[in-house]
Symmetry: C2
Subunit: 327 residues, 2 copies
DNA sequence: TTGTACGCGTTATCAT
DNA sequence: ATGATAACGCGTACAA
């Protein structure tokens, strides 16, 4: 392998100078710089990230924890993270943690070797665990979900308000019997969106009907399809359903269509996230949009600032209601 | 920071012994091992991946090049790669290279610092470039697409045969006017699938109609929707369409449904890949399935073997036709 | 079975 | 503006 010493020798300078060239140090005479650069090319020199890390105690690598890679929702956030990271010469390692084994693995790999400068969690479960574990001084930020503990700053939308807005929209369309399909598991966002749903109903003076709120175990459309069937089997079934995810909304749509109902005439459906699928499906989904890319970018920038020793407050980004055909 | 020296001191052994414990070296007396492990815990010791890399000249990190992260098709392959990698204590860095800038970035980050032990490309464009660039001895394997040059081994299905099978199926259903929606850009798989399409027609004694084959610029359903409209506007329009991607098939479906046609009665549609969307859409897609997870696993194992100095032949995995409603 | 000592390729400090 | 040199933390011959 060719190292800085070799370059130094060929260029007739010291390794210190080679290092300076490598790091764009201003105090290098232009002619010297040229000599060094020529030597580098001539020898086919490449820095060793490892050696650099060892000397600087920085890896320029951050870990991104994601629950489910097959959901493009997370892919979009990841893109935002990567964008911001690359602007600052950082790389992002993606780790999917849906299974228990993967979750464990992620945390060992996170804490065992000092491979990462920091971590960004897009997964409620991981975020909660991050808050309860000794981070050994590693920086962490949560995306989408705030940690119960306030040590980890987060970037998210106002979930409660967003859910309320969605339900208010349904109310404005004249609906009085509004159901909800939520997800279990104890994530904070599901609690918040549930609260938002209640807020809207309360404002409209409509009493809560617990049997109008269904919980599914995972963000998978078949589960929502079943939940919707249960809702539709009620004595006075909902005329509209608010779901906490577009995938669940698709399930609701399939259940309604399968039952011979017309959407939105017989049953209105509102989703959440505005993934690409939302516009594709027939009828196209009315849904709450989150600024996914921006959220990823902000999360990464937040982490970057933490790495420089700054303390970073959590931030809330704006959501919006995208009205299409389903409601 | 606490290093091996500190652990050694506390345990009353040498750093060599600590290193041996770290690497599960058999020649360490059990009692010694225990002493060392206790010292590690007591001090909160963590290895430095950087220092280890510097000493071993291995990073235990591979780079995965992916064209489009929002397509779950690639996410599934990535999962396979990660699975196999983790079994051997490797990490996988994912890099999306759809844009020119990202493509350039990927290659600089790949070749500049010696950060990665190897690279797996799932992107035709990247694979072609890998074959034309000085890899500096870095191992590379292609997933999904063979490199024109034979230096880079690949894992893929038999694309030509798979396409032929799909078209043969349509022929078996009585179709004689069969169109195709292919993708431009010069990827090998599109040429192969085109050949497979021709093979099937030839066997059936049906002359080629060039106007039956449409090319789109990217795997995006709106483009396929337009292409399908053009096909349907022909004097004797196809009664069936074979597409090289499920996303394109969805576009064809939307065009057909939008034109008031019934699928598969008036127009049969066959997709490719069997992504989750294929089963979700109405009517559910008949499509060619690729063993995505296994392909990823095999690609990673192939890379691992290369890293150990073995030479690895390319491999072809079996495909299958999944018959659903659309054809 | 265990210890000694050096090398891995950078950066950073202190001189000059 | 540049050079000499000591870290950085681990693996590994070679010895013992």
């Amino acid at each position: 392998v060719v190292a800085t010493v070799d370059v130094a020798r060929l260029a007739g300078v010291s390794t210190a100078t080679v290092s300076r060239v490598l790091n764009d140090h201003p105090s290098v005479r232009p002619e010297t710089r040229v000599k060094v650069e020529q030597a580098m090319r001539a020898l086919g020199f490449r820095v060793s990230a490892a050696a650099r890390s060892l000397a600087t105690a920085e890896t320029k690598l951050v870990l991104a924890l994601i629950p489910d890679l097959s959901r493009s929702f997370f892919a979009d956030i990841f893109r935002g993270i990567a964008t911001a990271a690359h602007e600052h010469s950082y790389e992002v390692l993606l780790c999917e943690t849906n299974s228990d084994r993967a979750h464990e693995r992620a945390f060992t790999s996170l804490l065992d070797a000092r491979r990462y400068d920091g971590v960004i969690s897009m997964s409620p479960m991981d975020t909660q665990r991050l808050a309860n574990v000794d981070l050994r001084g590693m920086s962490a930020v949560a995306c989408l979900e705030s940690a119960p503990d306030a040590r980890i700053p987060h970037v998210s939308i106002d979930d409660q308000r967003a859910a309320k807005d969605a339900v208010l929209y349904l109310l404005s369309k004249g609906h009085r019997r509004i159901g909800m399909i939520n997800v279990g598991g104890g994530a904070l966002y599901s609690a918040l969106r549930h609260d938002g749903y209640r807020d809207a109903l309360r404002e409209a003076g409509i009493p809560e009907r617990p049997d109008y709120v269904e919980f599914v175990d995972a963000i998978e459309y078949p589960l929502a399809e079943l939940a919707t069937r249960r809702l539709l089997a009620l004595d006075a079934p909902p005329t509209a359903i608010f779901t906490v995810s577009d995938l669940l909304a698709i399930g609701a749509l399939k259940a309604a269509l399968g039952a011979g109902l017309r959407v939105p005439e017989n049953l209105a459906v509102v989703g959440f996230d505005d993934v690409s699928l939302a516009a594709l499906f027939e009828p196209a989904l009315t849904t709450v949009a989150q600024p996914r890319h921006a959220m990823g970018e902000q999360a990464m920038r937040m982490l970057l600032r933490q790495l420089q020793g700054e303390s970073t407050p959590s931030i809330t980004l704006p959501h919006s209601l995208v009205v299409r055909r389903s409601a």
